[in-house]
């Protein structure tokens, strides 16, 4: 197994107290990030593809919907919900929040969930 195909190759542990990184990401989901935030994002983005949240491009540059990579090739690939994103930054922030909850099991403060 090499680094780029080992789903467990990222050893960074997300610290649920680092709300400063959440704020940094929220301020600029698609921007240039600090070294600490880059590590956090690399950890969030790494791993087994099965179950990974992805954006389906409905209209290039205009509209996206959330889906997940299915467990097996050939399985259907339904949307996760009805939400249509019209901004990639908004979609990034949404996925970030879902992953934060999934990976830390700690809810973000209410003022960040908006």
């Amino acid at each position: 197994m090499d680094h780029t195909s080992d789903p467990n190759a990222m050893r960074y542990v997300i610290d649920p107290n680092r709300l400063d990184l959440v704020e940094e990401f929220r301020a600029s989901p698609l921007g240039v990030h600090s070294p600490d935030l880059r590590k956090l994002l690399a950890r969030m983005r790494w791993g087994r593809p099965e179950g990974r949240l992805v954006l389906i491009v409905l209209e290039p540059g205009k509209a996206w919907r959330l889906s997940r990579i299915p467990r097996r090739r050939g399985d259907p690939m339904p949307f996760v919900d009805d939400r249509v994103f019209t901004s990639l930054a908004e979609a990034e922030w949404h996925v970030f929040k879902l992953r934060w909850q999934e990976m830390t099991s700690v809810a973000l403060p209410a003022e960040m969930l908006g």
């Binding site: 195909s5 070294p35 593809p49 954006l55 389906i56 491009v57 509209a63 990579i69 690939m77 979609a91």
Partner: protein, 753 residues
């Protein structure tokens, strides 16, 4: 509007067609009819933020509605042997077996050898069941087949010999497994006997197969084996499994082996689709759907890595249940390309027929029209990168790669075509992807629908390339278009009519003939405008016996998503070493002055001129621009002319000594990371913020006989051309180069070069 892009699928019989000749299209749909139009593409990019989707509708003989069949894709490779009944067990004894190296044991039984037909329930076969146990399957006249299971599991990726012995006199059958010693594991042998029922029906009346069962009597196959099979053999003698395994198959002159019915020696004809039986019965066969040859066999010593030097060590074939070379669909329509059509990128536009209105349903099949045999040529030729389009054809990286979201640095954006590929994997993926057994895909063919080589498809490669065509049209520059397949088939002759050639955004996959054609052309006075990045990188080949398939072996270096198994770097089709051109002594720097240095995963950069750019030899390039301008700090989609994948100057790797590095990149950051062959030890300081090798260089040099090369060293360069209504410094310098390169006055190589 959300388009349904896969209601119609199709592919051409030839990827490029000269004007005046015919190309046939094979289409499939669940809808009974299709409306066909032919488009000549100027810009195939539907993104509203770019130059726009631009095309011309061409009147043709296939315009209008056609009946359309729903044609399935049946992947899976195997061997087929016609035998006139000779391979139906008839003697008192029938012993057969093979070496196997299963790479995926799961889901359903996997056939090894036999004539068993699932539909009729007749015939016989040796298979592995879904748990990996060897099974002898025998048809019966009534009551359904019998399955004799040896209750021992084979392991994935471990060589074993499996065998069956039928003794009709004693009415018994034996199923055996021998696992030769390997590493710390000692040899093991297992065997079990079963009583044969009285009313066997072992003649399916169908060909003998290796690595599949017959699904029915219509040459459709099922239960494809995932893994290697070597030296399948049949003898009409009583032999136990070890005797059958070590049976001396070497032919001695003047001698035949008693009871030898068949012995398929896969080391014979590795570069072909034929399999040879070395028994006196000459039961030769053929391969279906292009399994991989030139793979290490049970007897591989590790002493050689080139199958041509020791074919006997490469006597295995790696079959895959998801191999696909040719969908074998029926032809829907045949386009007679008029002799006066301009060469270019063309596409069939497929929409529902009248009475079936569905404005959202729009699909394409791309092909390339090249100049006719008698057509007067333009001075400039664009060489479309079909090798690259094939290597990336139906890339599923976004679906299945562990690292891909980290590489892209954002939540992955999947076009609806990706959803289609996930739900319909039989369409076959790219040479970046892995087979269902985890082994890398070595082949990609155009005889199947390619979703990301179409308008409305993923933009990387073909769609990006059309931005360059759009710019040429905008500037009124006359050009012809050919593809690199012509370079592969015709060599330098394909380029010789032209004063200048242009390679587009990403000419990454190059065969021996393609490389030599360009080198010969440049040295004969041709001018080459190399507009892309990561160019001339992989040494690959079209398979001589399957000419619609590109073959790629990933080797042990290079930016790659899989790695060749030990000893499997040579191309089965041509025998030459795959991997990087850099490792064959012909780095891209030797051809165009720059070669692959880095991937840009975050922000794109721009160019600044170097001191060398003040040399009067290159003054013409910068006319109309300022000495200290940022070149290309803008651009569609990537926001910078230096991005995606970039190439650099390097004298040691072959950049000509007199080449001028006229501009170099600025503004690359932590997401700019070197390709693995650019470092030998991992140390801190590899990324673009610290590593001076992580850069794109723009170079110019003269070649013999008045020729020259200009190279940009960046994939995203072409997407900056249309910025500000095509009025920008990238457009200006490109136009300066095109104009000078089309000017017949010789470009003089400096003295001492």
């Amino acid at each position: 509007m959300i388009y349904k892009t896969n209601e119609y699928l199709g592919y051409p019989d030839r990827i490029s067609v000269p004007a005046g000749e015919q190309v046939k299209f094979q289409l499939s749909s669940k809808r009974p009819k299709v409306k066909v139009e032919v488009l000549r593409l100027r810009c195939g990019d539907v993104d509203a933020n770019g130059p726009g989707f631009k095309y011309e509708i061409m009147a043709s003989n296939i315009d209008g509605e056609h009946a359309c069949l729903d044609q399935p894709i049946r992947p899976g490779s195997n061997a087929v042997i016609e035998h006139d009944g000779v391979l139906v067990p008839a003697a008192a004894h029938w012993s057969f077996g093979a070496y196997v190296y299963p790479t995926r044991i799961a889901d359903n039984p996997r056939a090894v050898m036999g004539n068993w037909c699932q539909g009729s329930g007749r015939g016989y076969a040796l298979e592995l069941d879904e748990d990996g146990c060897p099974v002898l399957v025998l048809g019966r006249v009534e009551g359904g087949p019998v399955r004799f299971v040896l209750d021992v599991k084979l392991r994935e990726r471990v060589w074993a010999f499996i065998a069956c012995a039928l003794d009709f006199g004693e009415a018994s059958a034996t199923v055996s497994l021998i696992v030769p010693a390997d590493g710390v594991r000692p040899a093991a042998a297992h065997s079990q006997s079963f009583a044969l029922p009285a009313t066997l029906d072992v003649d399916s009346g169908l060909p003998f197969l290796i690595a599949a069962h017959h699904l029915n009597g219509d040459r459709q196959y099922t239960a494809h084996f995932d893994g290697k099979i070597e030296a399948p053999r049949i003898l009409s003698r009583q032999l136990d499994a070890e005797q059958l395994r070590v049976f001396e198959c070497g032919q001695r002159t003047g001698t035949t082996e008693a009871g030898l019915v068949a012995f398929w020696d896969f080391s014979n004809g590795i570069s072909t689709l034929a399999i040879k039986d070395i028994s006196p019965n000459c039961l030769h066969g053929g391969l279906h759907q292009l399994p991989r040859r030139g793979v290490t066999g049970f007897h591989w010593s590790g002493a050689v890595h080139d199958f041509r030097l020791s074919p006997r060590e490469y006597a295995a074939i790696h079959f895959h249940s998801d191999d696909i070379y040719d969908c074998q669909w029926q032809t829907t329509c045949a386009l007679d390309v008029p002799g006066d059509w301009r060469s270019g990128v063309y596409a069939l536009r497929l929409t529902p027929a009248s009475g079936d209105p569905d404005g959202q349903c729009e699909s394409y099949v791309t092909f390339f029209v090249t100049p006719g045999r008698q057509t007067k040529r333009a001075d400039l030729v664009v060489v479309a990168s079909v090798g690259t389009y094939l290597a990336y054809a139906n890339s599923a990286l976004r679906l299945y790669q562990v690292h891909f979201e980290t590489l892209m640095e954002h939540v992955l954006w999947l076009p609806l075509d990706d959803v289609f590929m996930q739900e319909n994997p039989e369409i076959g993926q790219s040479t970046y992807d892995c087979h269902v057994d985890g082994s890398g895909r070595a082949y990609s063919s155009w005889l199947r629908p390619i979703l990301n080589m179409r308008p409305r498809g993923y933009w990387f490669n073909l769609i990006n390339d059309t931005h360059i065509l759009d710019w040429l049209e905008e500037k009124g520059i006359a050009y012809d278009l050919i593809t690199d397949v012509e370079l592969d088939r015709e060599g330098a002759r394909a380029l010789s009519p032209y004063r200048a050639m242009m390679t587009p955004t990403h000419p990454e996959y190059f065969s021996f003939n393609m490389m030599n054609a360009i080198m010969a052309y440049q040295n004969a006075g041709g001018r080459h405008i190399s507009m892309g990045g990561n160019a001339f990188y992989w040494r690959c080949g079209f398979h001589p016996a399957a000419p619609a398939a590109l073959e790629v072996r990933r080797g042990m270096a290079g930016t790659r998503t899989w790695e060749s198994e030990p000893g499997e770097v040579h191309l089965a089709g041509t025998g030459e070493p795959g991997s990087l051109w850099r490792h064959s002594g012909f780095a891209p720097q030797k051809l165009v002055g720059v070669g692959f240095s880095a991937m840009i995963n975050d922000t794109c950069g721009y160019y600044l001129r170097t001191a060398e750019s003040e040399d009067r030899r290159v003054a013409f390039i910068f006319e109309g621009t300022g000495r200290h301008e940022k070149f290309g700090d803008f651009g569609f989609r990537y926001n910078g002319a230096v991005g995606s994948e970039i190439d650099r100057y390097d004298l040691e790797l072959g950049t000509p000594r007199h080449a001028l590095r006229i501009a170099t990149s600025e503004g690359l950051g932590a997401g700019a990371l070197p390709t693995p062959e650019e470092f030998r030890t991992v140390v801190d300081g590899l990324d673009g913020t610290q590593n001076a090798l992580v850069r794109a260089d723009m170079v110019f040099f003269e070649t013999g006989n008045g020729g020259a090369v200009f190279a940009t060293g960046s994939i995203t360069y072409g997407m900056s051309l249309s910025h500000n209504s095509y009025d920008n410094n990238i457009s200006t310098i490109t136009l300066n180069v095109v104009n000078r390169f089309l000017d017949p006055r010789p470009i003089v190589m400096p003295a001492g070069a």
